[in-house]
């Protein structure tokens, strides 16, 4: 994000979030009761790093009618999508987040001095060694031992960047020269395999363990490794393939040792820095594989697993797994045959295609600041300025969700998770809500006692569960009484 030179980023971020929410939404606080960012999935709490706890105490915080959280984190605005059950919905509310940021800029500028400008970039580094993550969160069965989860995910996370890297001009790792362009924004900043840190010694697998749900049943896998994607297909594959791999891990059919890499931290950088995708990395078994090879192996395993029918009960006839598999196979085939044919679908290819065209036409060297600017502005969420949005307006990107759907998703929650209940209550009863969080709403009905409505199961509080109840009780007092009765 960047704003008027003499105004701090924190202030601009606060104005963006503050101006977006109507007054009744602004007064609903975030409920921190269940949050503990220092709890570690490996079973201990970190005594150090007290400031990490305070980072959750956002200066300005909104819970939106679409079930999302929109707040100031450190010095930037942060948007968390509502909970979704499938990758396409995740794309939809992620795109709605971009539109919410863009709308916030318009509103914030109305109260700023004439000539003020605010830019918001959905990316992961400022090109000067400062990085900030895009966090994916997956609900995972608590029964899976964390060590096994981490070991199983490491090689997958190292190699999935071939389709979900957002692309970056240059390299931000001290002492590394000669990298013109790389697949991932984030690989330069990875220093460890597994850990709790998110701002220093960033790990491939983060161990933060706040499920925002019943901790006996669930853990939340908090992924800080991924890039912010602009392409619908890239976001779709990023979360879709990861969710499928998690299914196999939960069912204990993925042998963590079969894929393990000799040096994951080195491998993630080597793979990122070779756009020809021919770099091989050493597996623990001694064989050398490319990232695309390893992704084919994962895909074959997932296909076999789904064919076996073992997941049928858990998936309840959902169509997204087969759709993700088809897209995954298509993208891996194209990556092998002609990566540039994925322009408009995969961000690192789309950006590279644009940079190459610009570079050749304007006769620029790779170290030209204009190319760095194109890299940055690709991620601008303002549809008039953002270069991804320019490509989209020109019909050069594949769309999985329409403008009309995005407009609705800015206001309305997904219907098949607890985000439905949260968002609907925010839309109807914001005046009587004191606080909200992922897993609870706190009502003040009579001005005397606070009533806490817990939502510990992310798959309850759906439209199917609560629509009739919400229709029957237009007054919040009746609703809370019915819920507690």
């Amino acid at each position: 994000m960047s704003g008027p030179g003499d105004v701090s980023s924190v202030l601009v971020a606060s104005m963006l979030v503050g101006q977006y929410g109507q007054a009744e939404l602004r007064r609903v606080k975030w409920d921190f009761q269940e949050e503990n960012p220092l709890r570690d999935a490996r079973g201990f709490e970190a005594a150090r790093n007290r400031e990490a706890a305070e980072e959750e105490g956002a200066l300005v915080n909104l819970v939106l009618t679409n079930g999302a959280r929109y707040y100031v984190d450190h010095a930037h605005p942060e948007f968390s999508t509502p909970e979704t059950t499938n990758p396409r919905d995740c794309v939809l509310w992620d795109k709605a987040g971009e539109s919410i940021l863009a709308a916030s800029i318009t509103r914030a500028l109305e109260i700023m001095p004439p000539g003020a400008r605010v830019h918001v970039y959905k990316n992961n580094s400022d090109g000067k060694g400062n990085s900030y993550g895009t966090h994916e969160n997956y609900l995972v069965d608590r029964a899976v031992p964390f060590a096994k989860l981490a070991a199983s995910l490491l090689p997958f996370f190292v190699t999935r960047q071939v389709f979900c890297g957002a692309g970056k001009v240059g390299c931000e790792e001290t002492g590394v020269e000669g990298v013109e362009y790389q697949l991932s924004q984030r690989a330069d900043f990875i220093e460890a395999e597994v850990g709790l840190e998110t701002t220093l010694k960033r790990p491939i697998v983060n161990t933060r363990d706040e499920p925002h749900a019943d901790p006996e049943k669930f853990r939340r896998l908090h992924v800080i490794l991924g890039d912010a994607n602009m392409c619908d297909v890239a976001t779709y594959l990023k979360v879709g393939t990861t969710a499928l791999i998690l299914l196999l891990i939960e069912d204990a059919v993925l042998d963590p040792d079969a894929f393990s890499l000799a040096s994951p931290v080195e491998a993630i950088k080597e793979i990122s820095r070779d756009t020809s995708l021919q770099t091989t990395v050493e597996a623990a078994s001694g064989r050398r594989v490319t990232a695309v090879d390893l992704q084919w192996e994962y895909l074959d395993l997932v296909k076999g697993y789904l064919k076996s029918g073992r997941a049928d009960e858990a998936l309840e006839g959902a169509e997204w797994p087969q759709e993700v598999i088809a897209k995954w196979e298509y993208v891996l085939t194209r990556l092998e045959e002609d990566p540039s044919s994925l322009a408009g679908e995969i961000d690192w290819v789309t950006k590279l295609d644009l940079l190459d065209a610009y570079r050749e036409s304007r006769d620029l060297a790779w170290d030209s600041p204009t190319l760095k600017l194109i890299d940055l502005q690709y991620h601008d969420v303002d549809p008039e300025r953002g270069l991804f949005y320019k490509l989209r307006a020109d019909g050069r990107t594949e769309r999985l969700v329409s403008d009309d759907e995005i407009k609705r998703a800015m206001i309305e929650p997904p219907e098949d998770t607890r985000a439905y209940f949260r968002g609907t209550c925010l839309a109807r009863y914001a005046q009587q809500l004191v606080a909200a969080s992922w897993d609870a709403l706190i009502f003040d009905i009579d001005g005397q006692t606070l009533k806490r409505v817990p939502m510990l199961d992310p798959l309850k509080g759906t439209a199917a569960h609560t629509k009739a109840l919400l229709e029957a009780h237009r007054d919040p007092g009746g609703l809370v009484a019915a819920l507690q009765g």
Partner: protein, 68 residues
């Protein structure tokens, strides 16, 4: 679609990634490629019209500290 691992490896050996005259891409993909390139010049002009002025200065001033 639906190749086994060994079929894929054979295929890769036959068609090295250096590409032989683009024979690997289907006509549909080639056509898509042409279409994307055709309007590129017009698009690049449009991009020039929205790019921030003074790239060097703009990039220098963009600093975003404090992120996870």
């Amino acid at each position: 679609m639906g190749m086994s691992q060994s079929e894929r490896q054979q295929k890769k050996r036959k068609a090295p990634p250096e590409k032989e005259g683009g024979s690997a891409a289907s006509p549909e993909v080639q056509q898509k490629g042409r279409r994307l390139k055709e309007d590129m010049d017009r698009l690049l002009d449009e991009i020039d019209s929205v790019l921030e002025e003074n790239a060097e200065e703009f990039i220098k001033n963009y600093v975003q500290k404090g992120g996870q």
